[in-house]
Symmetry: C2
Subunit: 240 residues, 2 copies
């Protein structure tokens, strides 16, 4: 049975804790050096090096040399999406863990999924776009409406340019923390870019966490609000 062999190969690649940590650390779409990844995984440099070798020639990571540093990154978003998918099933079937700590709370609130916004904020944004009629959803697949096209253009997204690229413009991605969909694809990436450009959010360097600036949170909520509804992203509540 070849199917099983294929499965088990990448399965075992992801199956080691050290390697899994490295992969998780790269899910923000960035690239890290071998030393940083070693630190992230909690192993020494030599072992990290061995793991990285396996990951690269296993096809899950891509290596770019730069001076005396070697930067490792995930090969494509297909790999990133695979990891999110795996984390998705892990999240639904493994809530036997203790309650999430503060760091996880921040992750749950807003984080980057490879190159677009995920977490509570990502889900809220997606759902607000649907409520406001910018995206139409049949089943659970989004489609940009006329009003949506206007809105995104006003926000600074060049839809025409996005459509030219090979990457799908509009996709959804199941959120492992909330079990609801958020916006992915080229549009999702462009929105995150826009949020950063407008300084509404800042990406936490070396983690997947996305933090709202005070004014950014207000502006974001205003963008999502429709006909005087309550804000969707409140302050950093630390609920049990």
């Amino acid at each position: 049975m070849k199917a099983g062999t294929d499965l088990s190969q990448i399965g075992s690649l992801v199956g080691d804790p050290a390697r899994a940590n490295m992969l998780a650390a790269l899910m923000n779409g960035g690239a890290l050096t071998a030393s940083e990844l070693a630190l992230e995984a909690g192993v020494t440099l030599p072992t990290a090096s061995a793991h990285l070798a396996k990951l690269t020639d296993g096809g899950l990571m891509r290596l770019t040399r730069q001076g005396r540093n070697r930067y490792y990154a995930l090969t494509d978003h297909q790999v990133a999406e695979m990891l999110e998918t795996i984390m998705g099933v892990a999240a639904v079937l493994g809530p036997k863990k203790v309650l999430p700590g503060p760091r996880d709370t921040a992750m749950r609130e807003a984080r980057v999924c490879y190159d677009h916004l995920a977490g509570e904020a990502g889900v809220s944004m997606f759902e607000a776009f649907v409520v406001r009629g910018f995206l139409r959803v049949d089943g659970d697949v989004p489609d940009i409406t006329l009003a949506g096209a206007e809105f995104f253009a006003a926000f600074g997204v060049d839809l025409a340019a996005l459509r030219k690229k090979r990457r799908p413009v509009c996709r959804t991605c199941l959120d492992w923390s909330v079990r609801r969909a958020h916006l992915a694809g080229g549009l999702g990436a462009a929105m995150l870019e826009g949020l950063i450009a407008k300084a509404w959010v800042r990406r936490d360097k070396a983690s997947r966490i996305v933090r709202f600036t005070p004014q950014g949170r207000m502006a974001f909520n205003a963008m999502l609000r429709h006909k005087g509804e309550a804000p969707v992203v409140s302050g950093t509540e630390q609920g049990p």
Copy 2:
């Protein structure tokens, strides 16, 4: 780092060849007994039992007792889709294998992905629906058009009933063998049901292969054809 831990847990579950074979064997959406799975994985009953225990309390499989048999199946389609996704990246980054044998050719032509049609036939069907204007795609997300609703109703699909269910009606699923999308979701499942009910196809028991009946192939091609185009599913060609 918890994220890495979650990843590695299911990763290692999938990472063992025996377990991966079992999971792959269940991807047709059916249920098999422990003995059958042991045979499929090429291990003895005791080892199979141990693996199955890990898989079930790891949450990837579901056990239903029935008489003196114990039937194992995947827990949901989320798990099935995760496996397809993994096979997807395996397929794109691992074509250094030898050329596919005859059995794999059949798999590539038409197979069932949990409960809907995949492979060449699945992709052809999906793309034909788009060309004929039954599904509209923006980016790569499908949406049922008015014409589509009529067509599917005529085919025997009860769209209203599908919309009532919690499961998304219309989704796409990336095909590992062809690297193109095919139709998943409730509609995808209903279509496969319809194809079987009309006796256009038969599911190969105990494998994921779907075989067309002679008349079925003709009818299927007729369904897909639009304004006198060439048929999309030809005979069983055995290419090198």
